[in-house]
């Protein structure tokens, strides 16, 4: 199984993703933003960073990169795509995921370990029992998830909310547990089909025991195991 890590000018987490994949025995290679050939890749990751300097809006320019029309086609064929942080922002700008990511309410760039609870979802990338709490770092300035009321209703009804910010015990504070003001404490969502997944936290930074948490591992291994099973 081969993981493609899409590299935009200004991406800065691509090496972490490739390192995480290799740590887990997953073959991973970079895909340049100008490339239009995704043949041979079984799954794609859009890593974090500041693609095109985050000019206009985060992800607004990256979404028109030559590679992105192929990423859209790959996703439409059912190929698994995960967008982490800036990658999540790019997926919303590309309309592969609903909603948008606004400036953090506190106007602060946040960077710290963050408890997250897994929700019951249709996401192909995550298969954690509902309520499982994982500890994964967040590192962003625009992670304040927003969508309109109808979209939120649909996300909840279809099992498209994959991860929520929470307290260390898995509960949600009455005023919200999101460190960035995200609507309904949403940290990660997927599309209706479950193959396209976007999240603000960085699972690739929670793979190597050296950094103190390996809670990010299932975010890479689950989909790979699923693909291997399908391939027989």
């Amino acid at each position: 199984m081969r993981l493609g890590v899409v590299l935009f000018p200004g991406s800065n987490c691509e090496q972490d993703v490739v390192h995480a994949a290799h740590e887990l025995g997953i073959g991973a290679e970079y895909v340049w933003h100008g490339d239009t050939d995704l043949a041979g890749f079984d799954a794609l990751v859009l890593p974090g960073g500041f693609s095109y300097g985050d000019y206009i809006r985060c992800g607004a320019v990256a979404r028109f990169s030559p590679v992105m029309s192929e990423v859209v086609r790959f996703a439409e064929r059912g190929g698994p795509v995960m967008g982490i942080c800036n990658g999540f922002q790019i997926l919303t700008e590309a309309h592969l995921l609903p909603g948008a990511l606004l400036r953090n309410t506190g106007l602060k760039f946040i960077c710290h370990p963050q408890p997250l609870r897994a929700e019951r979802s249709v996401c192909e990338w995550v298969n954690l029992p509902e309520g499982t709490v994982v500890d994964i770092p967040v590192n962003h300035n625009e992670g304040n998830y927003y969508c309109d009321v109808d979209t939120l209703e649909r996300l909840n009804a279809n099992g498209q909310v994959v991860l929520r910010y929470c307290e260390p015990d898995g509960s949600r504070a009455p005023g919200g547990s999101a460190p960035n003001g995200a609507l309904d404490d949403i940290a990660g969502i997927c599309n209706e089909r479950g193959n396209v997944f976007g999240l603000m936290p960085h699972p690739e930074r929670a793979v190597d025991p050296l950094v103190g948490t390996t809670d990010g591992r299932p975010f890479f291994t689950t989909v790979m195991a699923r693909l291997a099973e399908v391939a027989g």
């Binding site: 206009i56 028109f64 948008a100 606004l102 309410t105 506190g106 927003y146």
Partner: protein, 78 residues
């Protein structure tokens, strides 16, 4: 060559953290009666393009219709 000015602002009801901060800061400076302060983007375009094309530019790139409204002011010949 035509000249356009584009104003991009958050849609009604979307929280604008920099605007809210400016609002509080102005109140702290003693200004009274401030209803609200919103901060958006101002874009100048000089192009051999009609209004319809500039509108398309806004829809596709300059504004995100999910969260933002835009207003185009035609400034005439550049």
């Amino acid at each position: 060559m035509a000249r356009y000015e584009v104003y991009v602002t958050y849609k009604q009801g979307i929280f604008d953290p920099p605007g809210a901060t400016a609002e509080r800061a102005l109140a702290n400076l003693g200004y009274e009666g401030i209803e609200s302060v919103k901060i958006g983007k101002y874009i100048q375009i000089e192009a051999d393009a009609g209004l319809e094309t500039v509108r398309e530019m806004c829809e596709r790139l300059l504004a995100n219709p999910v969260i933002e409204d835009y207003r185009i002011v035609t400034e005439g010949e550049a």
